[in-house]
Assembly symmetry: C2
Homo-oligomer: 382 residues x 2
């Protein structure tokens, strides 16, 4: 069995005083301390990062991480837009499937707030197709097209989106590492400045600096006396990045395909999952996730989420985005997929403090790249 044996993250937010690699180092250093592990015990590192080359002229991160620690182990950098962290986790998991008695670090980081917003917007748009970029479609625009399609098809309006932002800010308020620790109301979301109809600024996740790191292992000796979680599955699906080439845009097929594979491999069903971190880059994305991950029937998420049944302490069967999600905890692109898994790990081992969900056995993390061109679904349990 492959296990998660530790998690660490930096504060997510505008961290102007810290560089990309300082964030990487902080998250790895704290992971090593908390797991009582020396860097010399680590066999490989998988690093998720999207924009290092674009905003910092900083590629070849593998050797730069090796330099920080004076090691000669393999260090892989993987990029898959906002799914870079989930992809790094998946590759690390595969390495452990192939190699017994190993210990690896999966780390993700992104440095986004040091450059002009236009530069970040352009960098993020690199995850879209060339035609979409040329049409001036940035990610709020792409998700707005999908949101408008969904809301019109199922007779919903902006209120059915706003509840997601409100819930995730209630959760993020409880998370000391979250970027926005501020409760917001539905009215505030509905009145927030329009970015791309129907998405207001409070429907959108922010730009964020931050890093997160997991220790993965299949070393039985090493896990003695450690709080561990089992990885039951980690599955990936892709889809056409261009919306115009998708079969549908009232949801994300890549999520659906990855989830079906992940449930099958874990021998679990959506109704077994008690806690999930889903990719709410925009409020609409959490509605899609609830349906595409099999939690809700198609077209019903708009209605069901209005009741806040996935909010902590509301005694729902499934609690979603206790970290605050991308919306409130922040979205340092390469770190997000790893933070999601880290949150599930902390919940499953009972270390989630004032946002702890009780009696947990199974959790799921869901990471999306771009407008749905890549999805990673990982199922964990104890």
């Amino acid at each position: 069995m492959i296990n998660i044996a530790g998690y660490s993250q930096t504060k997510f937010g505008e961290l102007w005083e810290k560089s990309l690699f300082e964030l990487v180092k902080e998250s790895i250093d704290n992971l090593l301390i908390s797991t009582k592990t020396e860097i010399s015990e680590i066999d490989a590192i998988y690093f998720g990062n999207m924009l290092g080359g674009v905003t910092e002229n900083n590629l070849h991160a593998g050797s730069k991480i090796a330099e920080i620690y004076g090691v000669n182990i393999p260090v892989f950098r993987v990029e898959s837009a906002c799914a870079s962290g989930g992809m790094a986790f998946n590759l690390g998991h595969t390495y452990l499937e192939a190699n017994p008695n190993k210990k690896i670090i999966v780390v993700g980081a992104e440095k986004m707030t040091d450059v002009m917003p236009e530069e970040i917007t352009e960098g993020l748009s690199s995850a879209a197709s060339g035609a979409e970029q040329e049409a001036g479609l940035t990610f709020p625009g792409l998700y707005a097209l999908m949101a408008r399609t969904y809301l019109d098809k199922y007779n919903y309006d902006k209120k059915n989106l706003a509840c997601v932002a409100v819930k995730n800010h209630l959760h993020g308020f409880l998370n000391p590492y979250a970027q926005f620790r501020k409760k917001i109301t539905e009215e505030e979301v509905l009145k927030s400045p329009m970015i791309a109809d129907p998405l207001g600024v409070l429907d959108c996740s922010p730009i964020t600096d931050g890093a997160s790191a997991l220790l993965l292992t299949n070393d039985k000796k090493f896990i003695k006396n450690k709080k561990i979680v089992n990885i039951f599955s980690s599955e990936i699906a892709t889809d056409s990045i261009s919306l115009m080439n998708r079969k549908r845009i009232d949801g994300i097929d890549a999520t659906k395909i990855a989830a079906e594979k992940a449930y099958k491999k874990a021998k679990l069903k959506p109704e077994d999952i008690q806690i999930a971190e889903v990719h709410d880059c925009f409020t609409i994305a959490e509605l899609f996730a609830m349906e595409d991950l099999g939690f809700y029937k198609k077209g019903t998420a708009g209605k069901r989420l209005l009741d806040y049944e996935t909010l902590l302490d509301n005694k729902g069967k499934l609690i979603v985005n206790t970290s605050g999600g991308l919306k409130s905890a922040g979205h340092p692109v390469g770190a997000t997929g790893i933070k999601q898994i880290g949150e599930i790990y902390m919940q499953l081992i009972g270390n989630a403090e004032n946002r702890q969900v009780k009696n947990l056995k199974y959790g799921l993390a869901h990471n999306v790249g771009g407008s749905g061109g890549t999805a990673v679904v990982s199922i964990l349990g104890i």
Copy 2:
């Protein structure tokens, strides 16, 4: 056993009429045709690419490749500067170690000649450390520092470098896919315009467009009636990217460490290797490779290569860079590591046409990132 069951590449050169993804498609299409395989039979794709984000604002390549073929399989993009191709190969190999009866494609591509040379120089320098970039050290400068150290230490001069360029151009002259199919003389190399002392322009590999693709499999049924090569090992080592933090700069320790692991896993010794593709981004780099890979004793490569003992038809025990190397075949960064393995594959199955080495059993491919921050060594055999 994990096998290579096919190889394809585009022409390497200035391919202004083709985009990055057109090159990817061309190499994959031809690979599928030559191996009589449908894309629907492929389980995953690993893509090596360095500069897509920098020169084209083209990230999230995984979903863009999925879109070309209308598939939903995992597509990973990995970046490790000039070792991106080798790293993609290594990850694909690990996937097959973990998953029986699979078929995957490992593809690498780079589009470098469509932008101004300054932009490519800056993009490539992103593989160096921040301090080196700020000091104005681009890669010819970094390798020149290493070359000067080596030449002075072992009492060699520029002639000991020039012979590498001459040999690799003699090989590239025979390779229909090579960028420069032109024989050159030692005198021409020695008189070529100085780029960074002691490296003249003919000591340097060019900037290049191109793509290359391998089919890897562990599916026993699939390989029936196919020409296959066994992968004995693929190992990676990293090192500090900054020259000032290295233990030595008269060679590349990452190569040495990766090679030792690769020989051990393959249960072979350097003297077993009959053919090698080594990373000659600059002439000095081939001297380093010959020593660090264990073929020659430290400090002797300068002398031994003067005799052209690794030239095709010179009846040496080891022939090096029959493709023409990076120097003559070209260096489309993400494609290089895969082309090297492809050349060894073609040689081992006897399909190397007029550059065929006879009676081969074992070959080695050696791919380096940056000034030696990453090295990938893979050993193949039949």
